[in-house]
Subunit: 430 residues, 2 copies
């Protein structure tokens, strides 16, 4: 038997979930691994607050140093969230020779390169399974069992709040604002939902995934990112008629020596496995050159699912803690590839216009598009659904083009007198 001691920073949702997971399964872990995993200290600045879980108060400390400098603690588990002071605490812990587990996507997306370098220098492990996809063991799979692959593509539904909202809008024709309120009431969405609904949370996660599978450093603020606040029922209905659903997708692709990526709502064929990922569930779809298409599906949030991932990382470190193996100290986050990051790349797009209801308009628009090299894959005119100003919707799915060229073409089209407005531009995932 090997005893490994951990200290936890922060005892909010994820912290209590981690504590509870270990409480539930310590015996089972001991039995199947021979490792006795103990939480000996918890940083809790508000010990008077009821966390809804029985924790022996003697483990609470209010001073971070008493954890990150404790010679008896092997693993520091950072569950405070946010970029600071979490980054500083992790860096200090690493400098003190502690292995670090974190669920903090914001801190990793912002400072992963620095933290990983520091971990390598100090010969400790940095693990972060819970930072992407909650309980889904995607990071473990990509960095162990699937190491036998070169990856060319990753596609993910990485945010439970937005997926819950889009599912309700799709299946029950509910309005965005109503579902958001409902999600907040149920605890799926935060009081300030900006980071979720604007795609920022997903961009952080995609940045981490791209480091893992492509070895590139693309800061989240450089990822073309669009949230779901502009998605409405009309577009969900047209998507449905095209045999698609609208999902907030994180997408990254390697094409030759270039990497492209984006985070935005997209139409995806109903037969794609990601199209069936509903409500608060997350899923990550990866394409490897040996394994081909593979998808991981599960709960992207919640105290216990996230706790499952955190404790999984703790076990992984505990296994290797006294081995001093070159392999196990290999950084998971890599920033050493020669791949060039080129932004969004070319995609198919869904575009909805409002136009006058008279002949010749489609011909005029398609000639303009033709000059920009944009081909039309499919088109729908709904003369039944006339707008208040008598204009009618004209809906396209275009073949692959760059967003810049599309925007130029749409700009030119908008200047025509018969075009009332460009109502929606949504990526189409093929």
């Amino acid at each position: 038997m090997k005893t490994v001691n951990a200290g936890i920073l922060g005892i909010g949702n994820v912290g209590t979930g981690t504590y509870r997971t270990l409480q539930l399964n310590r015996e089972k872990i001991l039995e199947s691994t021979g490792i006795d995993l103990r939480i000996t200290k918890i940083l809790n600045r508000h010990p008077e607050k009821d966390r809804g879980i029985a924790i022996d108060k003697s483990v609470y400390v209010q001073d971070v140093d008493s954890i990150i400098k404790d010679p008896n603690i092997d693993i520091v588990v950072e569950l405070i969230g946010g970029i600071e002071p979490a980054t500083t605490y992790m860096a200090e812990a690493i400098k003190n020779g502690k292995h670090v587990v974190t669920a903090n996507k914001a801190a990793l997306a912002a400072n992963g390169e620095m933290l990983q370098k520091l971990a390598t220098e100090n010969h400790v492990m940095l693990r972060f399974e819970a930072s992407v996809g909650g309980g889904i063991p995607i990071i473990n799979a990509l960095t162990s069992a699937l190491l036998s692959n070169d990856f060319t593509e990753v596609l993910g539904i990485l945010n439970g709040t937005t997926n819950y909202i889009l599912t309700k809008m799709t299946d029950f024709q509910q309005k965005y604002a109503d579902v958001l309120k409902e999600a907040q009431a149920k605890g799926f969405a935060e009081a300030d939902p900006t980071s979720d609904v604007e795609g920022i949370d997903v961009a952080n996660k995609l940045s981490i995934l791209m480091s893992l599978i492509f070895g590139v450093n693309v800061p989240p603020e450089e990822i073309p990112t669009q949230g779901i606040t502009n998605i409405n029922q009309v577009d969900i209905d047209y998507a449905n008629r095209f045999g698609c659903k609208i999902k907030l997708l994180a997408a990254a692709k390697k094409i030759g020596d270039k990497v492209e990526c984006d985070v935005q709502p997209a139409l995806i064929d109903v037969n794609h496995p990601l199209a069936s990922v509903n409500n608060e569930f997350n899923a990550i779809f990866v394409r490897g050159n040996a394994v081909d298409d593979i998808m991981f599906y599960g709960k992207g949030a919640g105290p216990l699912p996230t706790g499952s991932a955190v404790v999984g990382d703790m076990i992984s470190i505990a296994r290797n803690i006294d081995k001093d193996s070159a392999y196990d100290m290999k950084p998971l986050l890599r920033y050493d590839s020669d791949l060039e990051y080129v932004g969004e790349g070319v995609n198919q797009y869904y575009v909805r216009l409002s136009v006058d209801d008279r002949p010749g308009i489609l011909g005029n628009i398609s000639s303009t598009l033709g000059r920009y090299g944009i081909g039309i894959e499919s088109m729908m005119q709904s003369i039944q659904s006339r707008n208040e100003d008598e204009s009618v919707p004209l809906v396209f799915i275009f073949y692959e083009t760059s967003r810049e060229v599309l925007d130029e073409a749409l700009q030119e089209i908008t200047n025509r007198s018969f075009v009332k407005s460009v109502d929606s531009v949504i990526r189409v995932q093929k």
Copy 2:
């Protein structure tokens, strides 16, 4: 850099896929792990046969001992398939101190306990990711990242051939025999499809999964197993009207200190993530007490996906080969739990009868069912679809009951003059 030498037994589909996977990604593996993985010998009894891949003939040997007794070989990769001589070769390799990787579900299901015991005694690792779910890294996930969980349920689509056949029958109303022929032509089904279509292949895989997650030894021949040969269009259509698809499911559940399991076609709600797993894809759905519901989806067969899993195992062994760690030598296959195996357990069932078209019959049948404690969840009578003998179909979904009680009740019902036949009994997965 660490050099690790492997010898492969058998160079059929999986063997060539393994060789090719390593050929494609050796550099990438070396870069990200520091391990130089080499295949130094291949047992090939027919070196004259074209394998469709460029392999330096000097690695071919025709004598198994020259691999399993080679002091320079660290890992023996068994890809011959079938119970014997594969089991004997693996046992000999283990006794010679070789770590073993295999894709062989039949040999593991039959002799896993003996092989694992031998591996533990000889302090070597036995790995078998490719034996369940092809390229899907389910075994790695269950035995590493998800070790933080106690598992209560596993549900899988574990055979690509039968899932391909059922998908074509469902989506294109094709007949079983026609799709089977098509699948054989495409190489998805073997010339003798018995092991696939009768569920034997799936029972082997379920037996392995149950050892991993429950620590029980349930030999495949003790698993209630039924194939897809009796599934027809009529039942697929009724399933559809009940909002379900029919899939060949492997199911195992832990209830208190009892374990139940079965392999059989089952109706599953279209909204369940497994219902969207189509064609030759496999998926494994697991419920853990922390991570909750989680699903892994990917290619269950094919040279490269299977090669991905085999090479993943080789990397996993290579990482730990010189560490002599108690943890890494922990058996993955466990047979030490106190859980009692009780067979199929209680389930919901779909039953289709042909009955005379006259009043009072439903009342009579439901009274009989009532005496057996069987409740009716839903019922459909289709007087339009009259059979040749003027009888009409009467279709039920029953609440949970044991198969034995159901069979007794159906036996009594069959004796009534107005009941022409019991046409189908299919499990319903809730």
